[in-house]
């Protein structure tokens, strides 16, 4: 028993889907339990942060870390688990690239707090109550972790050994990783565990590389079941996204949204998608191109759906040049430090 490698799982800024994905291994989870000694997994076993802090450095063999880093608590656990783990794996799109929580990088912390606690139509908050870093109650002082302005990927906070992308990673991808860990046949450090081909290569739809005059949103047309969605004007990120999911979304008529991230050697997933999508537009003048683009609302949201924090620009500008944040009020600065 004592010889079994020790496994830890943790969720930082996460939706819980990655935890479910691990449980989704079904009976194979028993193989994991047989192969590893699970020493830390807050979702499933009763354990406290102090218990991990007490572990010896390097005493965890493998840590599967899901979720993005958006506050002090996430970062603190990332540092602790990095120190305690021999192999740290960024598990899921959030840990790999910031993903859905990372979309917050399209706003500032102040804008978010303003909307969430004061402006949103379902909020009534005349007293302007919002979370504080420190609150005094009878029992003593309560502290909340500082909420960052910029969401980061795991590797922007601590060194990461391997990446397992996907939102969440598919069972077959997790199995691949577990197998590599069990057999010790790991790729070079820093690698993505998985395939290095595009979703298109796994997609059964027929691609003719058509040029298109307009984009459609999923609710606007019923796509032909056999033809490439992009050829039919439906945004699909499969052209520049890593395979591994067996083209799960296009298989059911929904364009890929890019959760498996870029292929090897591509740093900025969004820029690559931008190039690929631009190349299918059937227009030659700036005006005609603009007209086509009118049918593709929120392009940055499409291209950076999962990898905005892990991109070259990482977030929306907070203050450029002379526009310095005069406009940014600071209602929520207390939670921010």
């Amino acid at each position: 028993m004592a010889d079994k490698p020790k496994l830890a799982l943790y969720w930082a800024s996460s939706c819980g889907g990655c935890e479910i994905a691990v449980l989704g291994l079904h009976e194979k989870i028993l193989d994991v339990a047989a192969a590893f000694d699970i020493v830390f997994w807050p979702c499933v076993i009763d354990i406290k942060y102090a218990d991990v802090e007490a572990m010896a450095p390097g005493s965890i063999d493998v840590c599967l870390f899901n979720g993005a880093i958006r506050n002090d608590e996430n970062a603190r656990m990332a540092h602790i688990l990095r120190e305690k783990s021999k192999v740290l794996i960024a598990f899921g799109a959030c840990a790999c690239g910031g993903a859905i929580p990372g979309l917050a990088n399209f706003s500032s912390r102040e804008e978010m707090f303003e909307w969430i606690y004061f402006q949103s139509p379902t909020t009534e908050n005349a007293a302007r109550v919002f979370p504080q870093r420190h609150t005094r109650v009878d029992e003593g002082e309560l502290e909340l972790p500082a909420f960052w302005n910029t969401v980061k990927s795991l590797s922007q906070v601590v060194p990461v050994d391997y990446y397992l992308p996907g939102c969440p990673p598919e069972v077959q991808s997790i199995e691949l990783a577990v197998q590599a860990l069990v057999t010790g046949e790991l790729p070079p450090s820093g690698a993505v565990i998985g395939l290095n081909i595009a979703v298109c290569d796994e997609c059964p739809r027929e691609r003719k590389d058509k040029k298109i005059k307009r984009f459609y949103r999923p609710q606007e047309i019923i796509p032909n079941p056999d033809e490439c969605l992009l050829d039919q004007g439906l945004y699909c990120a499969g052209v520049a996204t890593r395979a591994g999911c067996n083209a799960r979304c296009p298989q059911v008529g929904i364009g890929c949204r890019g959760c498996y991230g870029p292929l090897d050697g591509v740093y900025d997933h969004g820029a690559r998608l931008l190039s690929a999508i631009a190349s299918i537009i059937d227009a030659d003048t700036a005006e005609d191109v603009e007209a086509v683009l009118e049918t593709l609302p929120d392009p940055a949201g499409y291209f950076y759906r999962y990898y905005l924090p892990q991109s070259l620009l990482r977030r929306k500008a907070r203050e450029n040049g002379q526009k310095k944040s005069a406009a940014e009020k600071k209602p929520a600065a207390a939670v921010a430090d």
Binding site: G58, D72, R82, E83, L88, S279, G301, R318, Q322
Partner: protein, 162 residues
């Protein structure tokens, strides 16, 4: 403000080998005056311009990016500048969503004979960027985690040493 005190922007220029790069040469050899703000990079065609180059330039400290190529219809590879038009239009929208001012990334045409047009384009863009001020993109992510690094990571010895 005197000319000398004005902020001196860094503009990265991606110039097509067959036209705008030669226009720049012509502007130089004909001693046309224009501000020394452009750091030009020669590319074989604007169709070669990967949007990543533009993002990399902005992230690396450029205050603006100027892309220049052959007039539409005159690309030496037939289609290259049409590709550039499509990419640029999409890139412009994405950059706007990321909070960049429109003037910071521009696409213009100049043939090998249009040295003056080239010089004027650089001068105009320089004035526009001066009015906007520095981009200072790095300022967008000050180190936010006030957190202790625990001990130096075992990572290196343990995970990679085997």
């Amino acid at each position: 403000m005197s000319e000398a005190e004005k902020f001196n922007p860094v503009i990265v220029g991606f110039l097509c080998n067959w036209c705008s790069y030669r226009a720049a040469d012509l502007a130089g050899t004909s001693r046309m005056g224009y501000p020394a703000t452009l750091r030009d990079i020669r590319i074989m065609c604007t169709g070669r311009l990967d949007p990543t180059f533009v993002l990399r330039a902005l992230q690396g400290g450029a205050d603006g990016v100027l892309i220049m190529g052959c007039h539409p219809g005159q690309c030496h590879y037939q289609e290259g500048n049409y590709k550039a038009i499509r990419r640029f239009a999409l890139l412009k929208r994405v950059l706007q969503q990321l909070g960049l001012e429109e003037e910071r990334v521009q696409l213009h045409w100049a043939s090998a004979a249009q040295g003056l047009l080239f010089a004027e384009t650089v001068s105009r863009m320089t004035r526009q960027i001066q009015a906007l001020g520095p981009l200072d993109w790095k300022h967008n992510w000050p180190n936010e985690e006030p957190f202790m690094l625990l001990q130096p990571y075992l990572h290196e010895e343990v995970a990679h040493g085997r």
